[in-house]
Symmetry: C2
Subunit: 130 residues, 2 copies
């Protein structure tokens, strides 16, 4: 899986795994039905405890992004049902505010922030997609 862990960032390992998997699913690198590395496998590769990987997978399972099946493995689920626009807005605005506070502190202009978002979008989905 090639997940790069930072043990000194303060960000819990299991959350770093969650973020990495989320990103790969969002970008399409992991698509519906794909099997994730087994708990033991990933734990071995990342040199961490089995239960830490299990914890990450369980959070993803409860979020509905994957399903864990005893004896079979962990699989990426089908795309989520689309939430109402209003709910999405409220949730994403919270993220946006934090990003803006950070951007301001660094002296970025609003145009620059928008430009960076567009870059990130293209990086994830490509220029053609939306």
């Amino acid at each position: 899986m090639h997940i790069h862990l930072n043990h000194h960032s303060g960000e819990p390992i299991y959350r770093q795994i969650i973020e990495a998997v989320k990103f790969r699913i969002a970008s399409g690198e992991l698509s519906e039905g794909t099997r994730l590395p087994s708990i033991r496998e990933l734990a071995g590769e990342l040199q961490i405890n089995m239960r830490t990987v299990a914890k990450a997978y369980q959070v993803l399972d409860r979020s509905g992004l994957v399903v864990m099946q005893q004896g079979r493995g962990v699989f990426v689920t089908s795309p989520q049902a689309v939430l109402p626009v209003r709910q999405r807005r409220a949730a994403l605005l919270e993220h946006a505010r934090r990003l803006l506070a950070e951007a301001t502190r660094m002296g970025a202009s609003s145009d620059e922030v928008i430009e960076i978002m567009k870059s990130a979008t293209e990086e994830m989905w490509g220029r053609a997609d939306g």
Copy 2:
């Protein structure tokens, strides 16, 4: 200061204070030279321990957003020196990626994400500013 704390979010109290102050500084609600409520004052208002507020202020102090002066109080500093564009980009892209992964999971389009960012920008700085 009217900071709304959520004791059940898992987000540490001191971090919630940091975020709230950051946001107010970014939006201009707290400008250069403004004195923040004293440690004891804010602790009393929020019904929390003095040292929890102190911890939040110390992080802001080390970030350079405020200066703590024994016997005087805590003051908002002058705007930070502007970082090179490349450094800003790298830091903000990380935030952007997370936002996009979240947006994707919720079924938002790239246009929608950009639109939300513009809204958040206007909310913080108003339509005229950048």
